[in-house]
């Protein structure tokens, strides 16, 4: 299995990369970590005529903490986030999600932006981004810079709001401040590091009385995109998240999921798994925040 022939261009600046995308339209693809794209090219599911390498753009590798969020360049490697104590403290859900992403060999190359841009429905970082309500910064030569909220970004399996002449340049990850915050990410896969049959993530905040003051949760691998449940989450504000309530909410959410069948798991089994995993992350995050 070898990739079809292509021309290679190493971009030395973002504008050079955007120029190449504008020039070649849908025939050009950006390559960063390559952990999704190169296997797709090997299997010839992707046959770009031009590959534009953005690995050496230092402007896409910066991480800054601003008021209320972390601004992360799209080419920051997954391993660098995983190994940053500061980021693990400010973005605990992202750190937990990364624990489930591939293996050390893939996280050393794989980028945060690449995982979001490929938007595999069972990938962990898109679920974390949606649960946290991240904002994605896109840029093109024709239309300049724009931002897209996570809930408008993931459109379907491997399908996002990124235009064919656009580059995902950065992600803003909201930081939850004040109060007692906890987050839990859980997943079931055939083997650790494989694609999830179902995954669940929750971040919540309790006030001084142990009542939920903020909460967001979601499911991965059981729909065309990761799923969040803002209406169900809103019902939990001001309540004590008891085990019984966690179970009810998890079952209501799982009932809204739209899992598919494949050789590893049937749709009913995935829906069952998602209820179990979501109940677990709700209960564990409530327990952790209360501790």
């Amino acid at each position: 299995m070898k990739a079809a022939p292509f021309d290679y261009k190493r971009a030395d600046s973002l504008s050079e990369a955007l120029d190449a995308l504008a020039e070649h339209g849908g025939e050009a693809k950006l390559i960063a970590g390559g952990q999704s794209l190169v296997p797709m090219m090997a299997m010839r599911l992707a046959r770009p005529a031009v590959l534009v390498d953005i690995n050496r753009l230092t402007s896409l590798k910066t991480v800054t903490t601003e008021s209320g969020h972390v601004h992360m360049g799209a080419c920051v490697r997954q391993r660098d986030v995983e190994h940053s104590a500061a980021l693990c403290a400010s973005l605990p859900l992202v750190q937990q999600a990364l624990h489930w992403v591939g293996h050390q060999q893939t996280r050393n190359r794989g980028t945060v932006g690449g995982s979001l841009a490929y938007a595999d429905p069972s990938a962990e970082l898109p679920l974390a981004c949606l649960v946290l309500g991240g904002t994605l910064h896109l840029e093109s030569q024709a239309n300049g810079a724009r931002t897209v909220a996570a809930q408008d970004f993931f459109l379907g399996p491997m399908f996002t709001a990124i235009g064919e002449d656009e580059c995902l340049v950065a992600i803003d990850w909201p930081i939850w401040q004040g109060g007692r915050v906890a987050s839990v990410f859980e997943e079931t896969a055939i083997r650790h590091g494989d694609f999830a049959m179902a995954s669940a993530a929750c971040q919540l905040q309790l006030d001084g009385q142990g009542v939920v003051s903020a909460i967001s949760f979601g499911l991965g691998g059981v729909g065309g995109t990761p799923l969040t449940f803002p209406a169900l989450a809103a019902q939990l504000i001001g309540q004590t998240l008891t085990p019984a309530l966690a179970k009810d909410v998890a079952q209501a959410a799982a009932a809204q999921s739209e899992p598919g069948n494949d050789m590893h798991a049937s749709a009913p089994y995935r829906r069952h798994l998602s209820a179990v995993l979501l109940e677990r992350v709700l209960r564990q995050s409530a327990t952790q925040a209360a501790a």
Binding site: A3, D7, V38, R79, Q104
Partner: protein, 170 residues
Amino acid sequence: MNPNVKATMSTKHSLQIRVNGVNYQREVEPRTTLVDFLRDEIALTGTHVGCEHGVCGACSVMLNGEPVRSCCMFAVQADGMQVTTVEGLAPERGSMSKIQDAFCEKHALQCGYCTPGMLIACHALVAETPHPSAAQVREAISGNLCRCTGYQQIVDAVMHATAAEGANHG
């Protein structure tokens, strides 16, 4: 995408990669993967080609000191970088590293196909964590498939090689 406008020939790129301490300069097609470069261009066939789509880990090498899958990047992307392959793990020709010795001692290989990737994964772990737990070893080799050993002997080998001095005997 229109299949009629694909590139049929792609321009070769000149690149320089330092492999196991030796500089190599070659002209390659952009679609040459790093593992094919190592095996076909500079004849270092210790690194194995397995699945060629990032699943089996047989092609693992160190890139600037970190383990990566050499089938999941193109050689042109490694221009100017340093690579360590399985041939570069032993301290000198004719000898073996402590972990390689332990692989022999604990029967951590049978057919040997996964071994180069396993050795890279284990050396990378030990460079970062000199005395890993068995769970850490399992996590470090979780991206490498082995169809012979059942993995336990590989875990045993790393535990053997990294046990405190004096605890290896007996």
